[in-house]
Amino acid sequence: MKNLKIALDHGLTKEEYRRIVELLNREPNVVEIGIFAAMWSEHCSYKSSKIHLKRLPTRGERVVQGPGENAGVVDIGDGICVVFKMESHNHPSFIEPFQGAATGVGGILRDIFTMGARPIALLDSLRFGDPKLPITRYLLEGVVSGISWYGNCIGIPTVGGETYFEECYNGNPLVNVFALGITRKNEIFKGQAKGIGNPIVYVGSKTGRDGIHGAVMASETFTRETQEKRPAVQVGDPFTEKLLLEACLELFKTGIVVGIQDMGAAGLTSSSIEMAGRAGTGITLNIDRVPRRESGMTPYEVMLSESQERMLVVIQKGKEEVAERIFKKWGLDFAVIGEVTDSGRLRVVENGKTVADIPVDSITEKAPVYKRPAKQPSYLKKTRNLDLESIPIPDNLNSTFLSLLSSPNISNKRWIYEQYDYMVRTNTVVAPGSDAAIIRIKGTNKAIAITSNCNSRYCYLDSYTGAAIAVAESARNLACSGAIPLAFTDCLNFGNPEKPEIMWQFEQSIDGMSEAAVKLNTPVVSGNVSFYNETEGKAIYPTPTVAMVGLIEDIGKLTTQWFKKEGDLVVLLGNTKEELGGSEYLKLVHGLVMGLPPSLDLDTELRLIRTLLEAITSGIINSAHDISEGGLAIALAESCFTPNGPIGVEIDF
């Protein structure tokens, strides 16, 4: 097997290579190896997570499109749908924080407008290491300014998110970016290459050598040597993306679009194969027609390049000029580079010579699926026995309270979100800083609330409950804003799945999320898995980030977390138990990450959410705030910092 060495260099295993030879009944050439390696990477194939992801509930009366397409679609009534998804750009952001984070924004936005929706909001969930380390400040500075640059330039508000600091992220920051768009129910577009003979059209920027092996890189653990893979980082151009967005939305109105998908990880390869796979058709690509930015690019480079701001569109035969005029108006590249065929194969041709010829289903249906071994982590024996009696009560509770309030994980993040234009599009009715961001839907009386949550310490101490809490807390945050929780997307950030302890954390998290999602009637409609978040054998805490969307039917009833006027009564809903496991207090004051996360009773949680929503709609509630990191004391303090100046509160225990 002469090409085995090349396959191994691409990260394919021996068995995976043997399977390819079987499927093709011949050895693959280098271009084909590149294609299989990208498509069978963890990032694109979900091979280590697929069987577990099946356990997540994805259906519901409002769900129009669940996982499997570019983004999830949820019906919010009056023929309007919201389209949303979250993606991780952890590995590129470690190598080049500014461009890594910026292209993360660009990529997730394309996943939204490829479905025919106009993006109207962005959120970012960021996790960094110890803030005292210079590398953390460098990464934080780069990531925040990258998100700010890309989001501000394209004119889509970044309305919320979360930022956490924990030593486990020292060598491995997490950059999860969420985007939400809005469209009419009958104007949703899918990524399918239907209609034999229909032309395949390439639109957007020219192709360069950036980010080659981006997909494969995301599936590699971080060792010193990965840092030498520098040219693998893509560079973004938000100005061109803004033109691409407007041009695509204009194209959709012509009614000639059959299918469309953005070129994300593995660029032209994944977009063509996935579109053919969903439609059960084949695609022939004339690669010499692809507009290029560099000279002398090989078919291998063109097929795997991850240059940004590019889309692949299938349009009705004979309508090429209609599409070309639109993209020329917006100054974008446009080229017919192939057609849909009934061969069920991806055939790549360069000047008439076939350079790759692969059955589409061999990549999509017959990709390897692993049921990796799982084992309960040994650290749990140590962390589980937390004896509360042994924790000394600090003598000066005031100074403890103040140090909690100013700790990096709790203190106000204005210095971050003030770098984002969170007002553009004049829909932001509740700006960053409250439990959830709220965006109004012009022309209706409705509003959308969005929140993202995950306490990775809880997930480290008990992955099942920690992941369930991420879902429950998101629903609580939405209820506190007066919104009915509808559905969520997620970014499942974990270490190396080939290690049984990590696989155990992953399985437990999936089960915890599933139970909460079913009980609270909030299905999963899209998401992403990011494995191999590990540097020199040290993995991050399990971080299943949840971004949940809620609906406010009457915008007049939206609520925020700040106390409104003197004399109002303060009510505590739910019961308080003697629990300190995984708390911010325990870590900050006693340097301990121990115990079990707070116990979670999902039936009570559901009743709490319903009660709160009923009280809010009946008009007796002036503000509501979810108690999370820092407990009751911090929640009360946060409620006192109102946008028009501080207000006091008196509590008798």
Partner: protein, 248 residues
């Protein structure tokens, strides 16, 4: 009824926001004007919205100023008709030499999105004719290069012709360095041409025409120009419609 033209460059972002404020909140006739158009006939007021025309590449507004529409805007302005450049629009007017000065990066080197207070310094422009001098308006800013710069001689010119229209201030209307968000010389937030009909301002009035968004002071600027157009720009004294100084 006054007819507003909102110019759209490749990369403009706040065009829809201006359209919503003028059409749906102020109920005026309003249309988008693509940057390659050559004429502004039939329009009573031209709005150059905020955004990142041409990605702000090279310098904000440096490339947009060569669009065909700029010739029409120059003619429109020399006819004495009202033109307002908001944020990126102000940067384009400065690059096109319709307004004096230039923009540097914010002193903090960071993009800033925040509510600020600005003081009305000149009520002789179509956009401030319904306001009283010294009125404090609360209007949001969102920019990375809003640090207004001008040479000292030209600064004296601005003072002499009272071309300084807005200055960043605190809630009591005092011009302080703490209230200056980006390092602009003399806290300048908005200037007009000597004739007063072309205004450039960094804060975004279209973002605060409805209380649900956090404030309505932006509406007064659009109401002023609507009133000014309805009086066919006749140079009366202070208008009949008295606006009490706004206490914030």
């Amino acid at each position: 009824m006054p007819r507003f033209g909102i110019v759209v460059f490749p990369g403009s972002n706040c065009d829809h926001d201006c359209y919503h404020a003028i059409k749906h909140i102020l109920n005026q006739q309003c249309e988008f004007v693509w940057h390659e158009e050559k004429s502004l006939d039939g329009f009573d007021c031209v709005v150059i919205p905020g955004g990142f025309s041409y990605g702000d590449y090279l310098r904000p507004g440096a490339i947009a100023r060569f669009s065909p529409i700029m010739q029409a805007i120059k003619g429109f302005a020399s006819d004495g008709k009202p033109v307002i450049g908001i944020c990126n629009g102000f940067q384009i007017l400065v690059e096109a030499k319709l307004l004096p000065g230039a923009f540097l990066r914010n002193a903090s080197l960071k993009f800033i999105c925040r509510w600020v207070n600005i003081r009305v310094e000149n009520t002789k422009t179509p956009f401030t004719c319904l306001l009283r001098e010294g009125t404090v308006l609360r209007i949001p800013i969102a920019h990375g290069e809003g640090n207004y710069f001008i040479s000292l001689e030209e600064l004296n010119q601005l003072r002499k012709n009272s071309q300084i229209v807005f200055r960043y201030c605190n809630t009591r209307g005092e011009i302080t360095s703490q209230s200056n968000p980006n390092g602009s010389i003399e806290n300048i937030a908005g200037v007009c041409n000597p004739e007063g009909n072309v205004l450039g301002m960094m804060p975004h009035p279209e973002r605060c025409c409805e209380d649900i968004l956090g404030g309505h002071h932006g509406k007064l600027i659009f109401q002023s120009v609507i009133y000014w157009i309805s009086q066919r720009g006749s140079k009366q004294g202070q208008s009949q419609l008295k606006i009490e100084p706004l206490t914030v």
